[in-house]
Every structure is written in structure tokens, then in C-alpha cells.
Symmetry: C2
Subunit: 160 residues, 2 copies
DNA sequence: GCTCTTGTTGTTATGTTGTACCATCCGCAT
DNA sequence: ATGCGGATGGTACAACATAACAACAAGAGC
């Protein structure tokens, strides 16, 4: 079980390895693609990965500003936009917050289970759900581009 | 085919009947439930229903203010909150905008097809998709409360 | 009739999230 | 050395949303 495969928000895991793995994957991907994962962008990615809870842009900014005095809203949003464009993070629309992507490199919109109690958010990859989304769109002669799936409720721990 | 059943954003239909039907249903529902669909709230519902495009709260405010001088942001947000609580409108999270609900009375989170070109947004009710969502949550021992499904892309017309 | 309670609306101010726009810097190819 | 493109610095502002308290209206119980 790799660190990233263990990225279930509700399970305890070696989160340092989890982060390190995500950063390593990001560096590889960006090198391959010929895009720049600059120190600033990597720092933002690292901050987002510090927890499995979606993080608001201004939370990221506060954290970033501790080591980067020049940080301003555009600084953060530009980095977040880059990371999203490269598929390294996702935006959770229902929270206006950002979360590290567990399947970086494979372009996808993401499917999320968001705990309303503890905030932990797990990205899932469910082929049947994906199929159902495609089918629903097809039925309406609709060409899907981005599929937002965010299920809020109680995670395995909090729901007990 | 009733007006509401014809509420496909991309099809031409008698939108006046569409609105009238939605308002009549809303009045019935609120009467049954013993909650107040006040003139203000009804006016906001009417404004949201004027199109099949999700409407921002401040757009609603601008429209409302034409006939209601006292309108302020809280005026609109309170009305929208009431209408959402009663299941008469939905919030489209990926747009920060609001849309009339085509299945008022049946509590549901809604599934949406959002055209990126023309803005028309169609609410769909797809049992298989619903099942897939439930199954995905169940697999993770997650208790779903709200399910956000928003598919952006090109509608039948714009995708041709 | 009185007044208590509850729900709705008025009103001001502020908090939160996200962008427009232009300047500056830096590496690199010409 | 010059110009170019990508990245960052920095100011201001736009867009979205809520806190907090005042005013008012209508029904319930006395």
C-alpha cells in the first residue's frame, strides 16, 4: 500500500510519506510536461497537502505568508490555478476550498466524500459512478467537460 | 406534458406557464407545510424562475430592487435561504448561483447539466445516477446527506 | 384590551472569496 | 545587448455572503 493509495481521510496513515509522495509525483509530472513547478508553487502544493481537509485560499495565504512575506491573494490564486490546470489539486466547489489530488496525472474532475463533522474529505474513484454520470449526460445529448461530484455527510468515523 | 415537466433548459417551451406552475406548486406546498410564502419570498422565487439560467444573488437583488426599494443583500439571501430550505430552489455550487427546482416538494439535492456556452442549466432526475452515488458512499461507509452533482459542458444545442 | 412570543423584514456594517491590471524580474534565444 | 515569454510583486477592486441589532406585524393566552 503506497502512501498515496492510503490517502483515506478517515484512516490514520503516515502523512509525511503521503505528502512526500504527492510532491515527488508532482515534480515528475511537471518535469515531463515541461512546466515549472517553481518553489512558490511547490510550497503552495505542500501547504494544501498538509491535511486531508480542503483548505481555503486565504488559509493557504496565511500559511504561505509565514515564510513568504510578499504573498498576496493573487500570489496564491495564481499558484492554485496552476496546480489545478496540472491536475495536482482539486477545488471543492461546495466549500470554496482546495484539496490535494490523489490521482495526479490522470485528468479527472474528482469525486468527493466530505464529512460535515470533522471536515475530512476523501477523494474516491468510482468507475460505476463515472459511467452513470456519462450515461446521464448522454441521455440528454449533453457533452460533459467537467463533472463535479461532492457528497457531504458523515464519514465512517463520525457516523458511528 | 406539463409546463414543469417541460422545463428542459434547451427546449423552447411556454415559459410563462412554466413559471406559473412553479409558483402555484410553491404556494400549495407552503400552505400545506404551514410556512409563509410571503410576497417578498414569492417575488424572489419569481425572479429566479424567469430564466433557466442560474442567477447570482446580486442579480436577483438588482432585479428585486426595481420594485422593492428596501432590498439589500440580507433581504435576498434570507429569501433564498428560505426557498432552499423548502426545496423550491437549488444552489449551483460551481457558479455561486440559484435555480428554480423542477421537483419541488420531493427533497433532493439535484443533478445538473450546465452549458458553458449558453448558460442554460437543466435539472435532471436520474435514478441510476442516484443509485451510483448511494453505492459509492456506502462502499466508503459514508452516510450521505447532500449530494452535489453538477456536470458542466455543452448542451444539445451548443454542442452541435 | 394587553402583552408576550415568534417570525419576518429593515438597516448598517463587515467578512470572505476571487480578479483586473500594470510593473518588475529573470532566464534564454537571437 | 536586446527582445521575448513566463513568473512574481503589488495595488486596487469586484463578487459573494453574513453578523448583529432594530422595527414591526400577527396570533396566543390572559
Amino acid at each position: 500500500m503506497t502512501a498515496r493509495a492510503a490517502a483515506h481521510a478517515h484512516t490514520s496513515h503516515n502523512h509525511r510519506a503521503c505528502i512526500d509522495d504527492a510532491l515527488a509525483t508532482a515534480r515528475e509530472l511537471c518535469a515531463t510536461r515541461g512546466v515549472q513547478l517553481t518553489p512558490l508553487r511547490e510550497k503552495v502544493l505542500h501547504i494544501v497537502w498538509r491535511s486531508h481537509k480542503p483548505m481555503g485560499a486565504y488559509e493557504v495565504l496565511d500559511e504561505l505568508a509565514r515564510s513568504h512575506k510578499a504573498a498576496r491573494p493573487p500570489t496564491v490564486y495564481r499558484a492554485l490555478d496552476f496546480l489545478m490546470a496540472e491536475g495536482l489539486i482539486h477545488k471543492i466547489e461546495s466549500l470554496n476550498a482546495y484539496l490535494g489530488c490523489i490521482e495526479a496525472g490522470a485528468p479527472h474532475s474528482g469525486q468527493f466524500l466530505i464529512c460535515q463533522k470533522c471536515g475530512a474529505t476523501e477523494e474516491i474513484v468510482d468507475p460505476k459512478l463515472e459511467t452513470a454520470l456519462e450515461a446521464a449526460a448522454r441521455r440528454a445529448h449533453f457533452q460533459p467537460v467537467r463533472k463535479v461530484v461532492e457528497i457531504s455527510g458523515l464519514c465512517a468515523r463520525c457516523g458511528k
